[in-house]
Amino acid sequence: MSRKPLEGIRVIDLCVVWAGPFATMLLADLGAEVIKPENPHVWQPMTRGAMARPPQAYLMLAPAWGGGYPNNVPGERPWNYCPTFVSLYRNKKSFTVDLRTPEGKDVLRRLVAISDVVYENNATGTLEKLGITYDWLREANERIIFVRVPAYGSSGPYAEARALGIHLEAVMGHTLLRGYEDADPSSNTAIYSGDYLAGAQGAFAVMAALWHREKTGEGQLIEIAQAENAAAMFTQAIMEYTMNGRLLTPIGNRDIFGRYPCNVYPAKSPGTAETCDDRWVAISVENDEQWQGLVEAMGNPEWARDPRFATNEGRAAHAAEIDARIAEFTRERDDYELMHLLQAHGVPAAPVLEASRMFDDPHLRARNFFRTQTVEGAGTHEYVGPLWQFPETPVEFYQPPVTLGEHNEYVYKQLLGFSDEEYARFEALGHIARDFDPSIP
């Protein structure tokens, strides 16, 4: 394996759900050793799935990204197969320990002593109940960098509020800002853009704090209030209010900077939305030159040569009419053909891609974007690749999505120096497992 920017940096992943695990995955991709302590007696909801042993009926009720288990069965060890989990746990290690016991907590303390970073995004109060605080960590390791990602911060009236990404995005204004312009906000779909932003920035924060520590020797406690972090995405709406006192409302797929046309248009579809076989093409024209390119691509139809449409003001005034005309042009054409045709005329355009189709995309294939990984009990599949390409320190998927307790021997014996006898004792005490306790549903 080649050099990695963060090799030799050890990160303890006390994360749940999405925002935290995304941050530690990016650190792992850059070479950090990320270790996840897991309690085989306690289920963390929505991390290794909604349930440890989901009934078959549940899988089909959940959206595909939550319930799309291998071959649509829970399988022998369902906690290793949830699509959202496996997407976030490549390049990481897992060991099991019951942190509610004094000897289990001491295992964590010993691991903290030889680590650089502890990262967590649990509901407020969860770690405190276990006695895991910044002071406790610092006692074990003065130089530790501790990152916490509370939804609304550790102070203020909302400190205790429970939230997933979708709830804090509602509070930060996103749900009232996005969606169709002619429908109420309940026509929106639950999304998690705040998890993305805070996750990637958590990786940035760790690397900045390590940079600081390199110079000063100081560790520290970083607080990413996920709601505050998300605000950047809504900058234009925030500043429209703070500068001009105006409240923005949803504009569907139109351009926030008022350039026309900009929308998604129907393309030739092999089926309907009910089977996810409807197809759409996104087209966005940002200047008059691109408009002329679009007109040419459509074969210079008479309606498009209307001089009123030559300027953005004219196109804005007749946006609905232009959209309807463009839709007539796109409706019977293939979405990929439309992309190539329009791009050849200098017009930004691409299919609105249903996820399964990315595996057939020639561009992603040419860039070797996908990585094949094998998860024990789930089989061999192609997974999406890394977020960036580093030529000299390449992001390699050397460890497939980690199964529960896969690195028990490594962590206990190799890292913490347990003897075979001690290891056996911890096994007998119920710390060491590859399965969740049978009592957990």
């Binding site: 050099r3 749900t175 930004p348 789930a378 390409q389």
Partner: protein, 405 residues
């Protein structure tokens, strides 16, 4: 005050939104980010909202937010003097970040070879729509095109309508966040191992691999051949999705996973404690869910969004009121935490923007200067680089001539 990255000089050749958001994060934590602008300015200067709706290049809110803490140097890179000035800045930089269309910097004679020659220690992060290689290398994109193609937009909206994207340019901010992480990775590889490499960031790939559902919709298909249906967040579950209330809306997505807490929130009314709502055998029956929701809707409509959220917080129920920007900016929680920041700008006056992206007590976020005026620091920076006065004069003259792209 000391900042984490105050020993880092960044030569910033990015424009628009994604790249500048990444370099803004570097600048916010102390890096000296030298923003190179063409004589006509970063195109983000022409993006709204504008103060007082005046489309002036020094009054763009979008540009302002993305470029605080940076210095602006105007160079006409088509001229020899411009490239010489660029080389003198690059020689002092620890990192170069650029977002030109692939092939552009090579055509200008300032490609990777150029930077390697003037500063072999500095890595470069190149940001583009689809990456520096592959059949779509030269394809154009916008936020809609990137997110539609690579993000999970397909499954957003109503089944019988078109897919609908996120707000504004949110997807480009997500990419910017991923680019900031790439910048730090490149800096660390250079610092620890002396590896100066050209990192290739495709905006599309930052979404194909991103955590907001797309990473999982892809593997879900590989595992189960199931696809992700486009469906709205209407009320479903007990409770789940978005509900109207007395003065707006509240989001209870996934709240039903703790029905015990939901009962606590509602105060254990008789209707809600009916065994058909608690029995796992009947709880998932759509008719029973619908019946439950009639009661719950009534409860919501009698209360304001803030009253409902207060009850939900007390009972630890997943919930978020749908705030407007007026609700948000004036909210006591965020004000009390000192989240908003007001900055004085020579043209715009006092401007209020979102403050720190996260709290890092040692070496953390600071607002040191407002967004720069176009070319405000050209002479200052070039003198720091010890460029001969004659060349500085030539650069400034070329910049003042302005010109068009």
């Amino acid at each position: 005050m000391v900042q984490a990255l105050d020993d880092v000089v960044v030569l910033d050749l990015t424009q628009h939104i994604a790249g500048p958001y990444a370099t803004k994060l570097l600048a916010d934590f102390g890096a000296d980010v030298i923003k190179i602008e063409p004589p006509w300015g970063d195109p983000a200067r022409r993006l709204g909202p504008f103060l007082g709706d005046d489309p002036h290049p020094e009054k763009s809110g979008t540009f302002f937010y993305l470029n605080c803490n940076k210095r602006s140097v105007v160079l006409d890179l088509r001229t020899e003097a411009g490239r010489e000035a660029l080389a003198s800045i690059a020689a002092r930089a620890h990192l170069v970040v650029e977002s030109f269309k692939p092939g552009t910097i090579e055509k200008l004679g300032i490609g990777w070879d150029f930077f390697q020659r003037v500063n072999p220690r500095a890595p470069m992060v190149s940001v583009s729509n689809f990456g520096q290689t592959g059949p779509y290398r030269d394809y154009l994109a916008s936020e809609l095109v990137i997110y539609g193609f690579a993000g999970e937009m397909y499954s957003m909206g109503e089944t019988d309508r078109e897919p609908v994207k996120m707000f504004g340019t949110a997807a480009l901010f997500e990419s910017g966040s991923a680019i900031a992480a790439a910048c730090m990775g490149a800096l660390w590889a250079a610092k620890r191992f002396g590896i100066a490499q050209r990192v290739d960031v495709s905006l599309a790939e930052t979404h194909f691999g991103g955590v907001d559902r797309r990473h999982a919709t892809a593997i879900a298909y590989q595992y189960s051949k199931r696809k992700t249906l486009r469906a709205a967040s209407r009320s479903s579950g007990m409770p789940g999705g978005i509900y109207p209330c007395a003065d707006g809306y509240v989001d209870f997505t996934n709240a039903s996973i703790r029905y015990d807490r939901v009962l606590e929130m509602l105060g254990y009314p008789e209707w809600a404690t009916d065994p058909k709502y608690t029995d796992p055998a009947t709880r998932l029956n759509p008719q029973i869910v619908e019946e439950w929701n009639v009661h719950f809707l009534e409860w919501c409509l009698q209360r304001t969004k803030r009253e409902i959220w207060e009850e939900a917080r007390r009972a630890k129920v997943l919930c978020g009121p749908l705030f407007t920007m007026e609700d948000l900016v004036n909210d006591d929680h965020f004000r009390g935490r000192g989240f908003w920041t007001t900055v004085e700008h020579p043209v715009m006056g006092k401007v209020t923007i979102p403050g720190r992206p996260f709290i890092m007590p040692k070496g953390g976020w600071q607002l040191r200067r407002p967004a720069p005026l176009l070319g405000q620091h050209t002479e200052e920076v070039l003198r720091e680089c010890n460029l001969p006065e004659a060349i500085i004069a030539e650069v400034v003259t070329a910049a003042q001539k302005g010109g068009v792209p």
